[in-house]
Amino acid sequence: MLKVVNVCTRVEGHGEVKILLQNDEISIVNLEFELYRGFENFLIGKRLFDIPKFVSRICGLCYASQAIASCKAVEDIYSIEISEQSILLRRLLMSAELIKSHSMNFFFQTLPDLLRIFNIAQNTFSPNELIQYYPHLTTNLYDLIKIGNEICELFGGRSVHLISIVPGGVIYSPSQKIITIAQKYFQKALSISEWIIEKFIQLFANQTPPKEFNLPNFISLAQTNYGNYDRYSGSLRFKENNKNLVEFEKHNYSTYFSKEINLRGIDFYFENKKNVIVGPFSRFNIVENYGIDEVLSYIEYFNKLWKKNLLFINFIRILEIYIESFRSIQILDDPSLNIKENLPSLNSIKNENGIGVIEAPRGTLIHHYHLDKSNVVDRIKLFIATEFNIPLLNQMITKYAQGLYEITGDLNLVEKNIQVIIRAFDPCISCATH
């Protein structure tokens, strides 16, 4: 049995593809991470106020999501409700993080792949070549990254590992001047994302996506607020094809899945053995109402073949930038954003378990903390979006590699093309190696 290891490029973090060859046939292909950092371990005994600051450092791309999920878990332990102003500020910071993260993925990681797959470019462009080839598109993508960054600086105090997000709310109250600046940023993000959506449609919508990238059968998991698009609050829902399987509150998650601390992988308690997907594609499958008419008309440009194809995730990510910009403009008009309240005190602990759930850019993120009898954190479970997606991703790259190797016998080509699938999933390896 020959093992071929190839380091992934143009992904977040350090991942390796392992290809197992048996009798000149590919038997298994896995995306693996050698690293393990042990956050679930060293957070034990740490103070509840400190934990969100520490978990933010799990990831430099999903920092706001990690910190907010953590704060929600701590607030669950104290059983406190946070102010409407703080909820709105958290939503704005989550939008800024998503705009930055999705734009970086499209620019540096997936756009060069799409251009090659659809024969628009012969080679995979380097960032500089891409800038020369598409100056307007790449300038727009840079602007989106910068807008996400600026909003984080304005409302979070820093571009990464935000200072203002603490248990009990957000330490910040924007002045009218800051609100006006933020409105301009999000309006610009909205018009840029409209332009990129149209460009994407013009470049790719009339083409047929390669069937090798069709998704196998899967089950979607996402948070939704009664079918509405809501990444901050709601309940969790499983859906298969057009059928909602089950909807449940966060405190009941362990009825459906769990994990062993310090071990990778999430165990699902279904009889149905299909793999689960989380993230933009899953949100697309589960959300029934975006509250924005244009979203549906944009989706109509793509035929049925696209909607079961992995490459469609690239479009949904751009669409989510548009949706988040649109909703952020609405939030900035909300009078509750001006009503400043002091943060609640964290004096009396009410529950020994605290669970925080949000939809991170890459999908469902759950933090579960447990306290011992002296109210010290003694157990931490982190359910990371990329961990949910790994079994489906590995299933896809194995099938794809087997087919391609059988036809071509070219292992270099297999290695190169597998990474297109991996990048379309947009794994966050920093998060997954928590």
């Binding site: 973090g13 371990n41 060293f42 103070r47 600051k53 520490f54 920092y63 960032p127 105090g157 990464v160």
Partner: protein, 252 residues
């Protein structure tokens, strides 16, 4: 000739890299340099000769040491980029994992500290590196120009009972006028390098030391400092203070 750069991640969160990509001058950086290795955005798989290597993340695995040495052999100048590479970083909280600064294993030509490095500081450092100049950091501590600076002597009897204000007491900017230490809240400003533009202080929170010390070892600075003040017993036992961004440096 354009300077050649390589950007490398050890054990990290990618936050320093994401800060770099989000800088206003990043397009200019791409234009004025040749990127020889930068796995986050390019397909280049081998380390080649270069003028500057920026290394993000701490050393937590043996295999990283060999890789680091290869970087050192190929780069004219190597800089520790971000607090993990400079001092060990957040993984120092772990008692099971190693979290070493890269300088434990290779000679370095400078540091760009911060978790993440402040955008302005990082932008200035990059421009200087592109122009083949040395980078300069402030030699002052945070207190030197702190907006809350009063007439406080840090070696007078200060009783510290908290490491952060109670959430309901957090006040922003100008509403917050008194030094944290005076209020019995631990602030690591006295032993932390200036350069972050007081972002935490302005948000009503004390300095947690992410920029690292002005000189010498991180943890010994903290221990010396804490020996000057009265710290409650509960805080004395809390490793979340001492090992937040660095472990004691026992290997040189």
């Amino acid at each position: 000739m354009k300077p050649r750069f390589i950007l490398i991640s050890m054990t990290s969160c990618t936050g320093c890299i994401s800060t770099l990509i989000s800088l206003d001058i990043f397009p200019q950086f791409l234009e004025r340099t040749i990127i020889n290795y930068f796995p986050f955005i390019s397909d280049e798989k081998d380390i080649n000769e270069c003028e500057v290597a920026l290394v993000e993340g701490c050393v937590s695995e043996e295999s990283q040491i060999i890789f680091l040495r290869k970087v050192r052999r190929n780069a004219k100048k190597v800089f520790a980029f971000g607090t993990c590479a400079c001092f060990g970083g957040i993984l120092s909280l772990s008692s099971l994992k190693k979290a070493e600064p890269i300088s434990n294993h290779i000679e370095i030509d400078g540091i760009i500290p911060g978790c993440p490095p402040p955008s302005k500081l990082l932008g200035n450092c990059l421009i200087r590196l592109i122009e083949n100049k040395d980078i300069t950091l402030s030699e002052k501590n945070m207190c030197a120009n702190c907006p809350l600076r009063g007439n406080i002597e840090i070696n007078s009897n200060i009783n510290i009972t908290k490491i952060n204000p109670n959430p309901e007491e957090i006040r922003l900017g100008e509403e917050n006028s008194e030094c944290f230490l005076k209020k019995g809240i631990l602030c690591l400003g006295p032993i932390t390098r200036d350069g972050c533009e007081y972002k935490c202080i302005k948000m009503g929170l004390p300095c947690e030391g992410c920029m690292g010390p002005v000189s010498k070892d991180f943890t010994s600075n903290i221990i010396n400092y804490l020996s000057l003040i009265e710290l409650s017993q509960e805080l004395r036992n809390y490793t979340g203070i001492y090992y937040r961004f660095s472990k004691p440096n026992i290997k040189r």
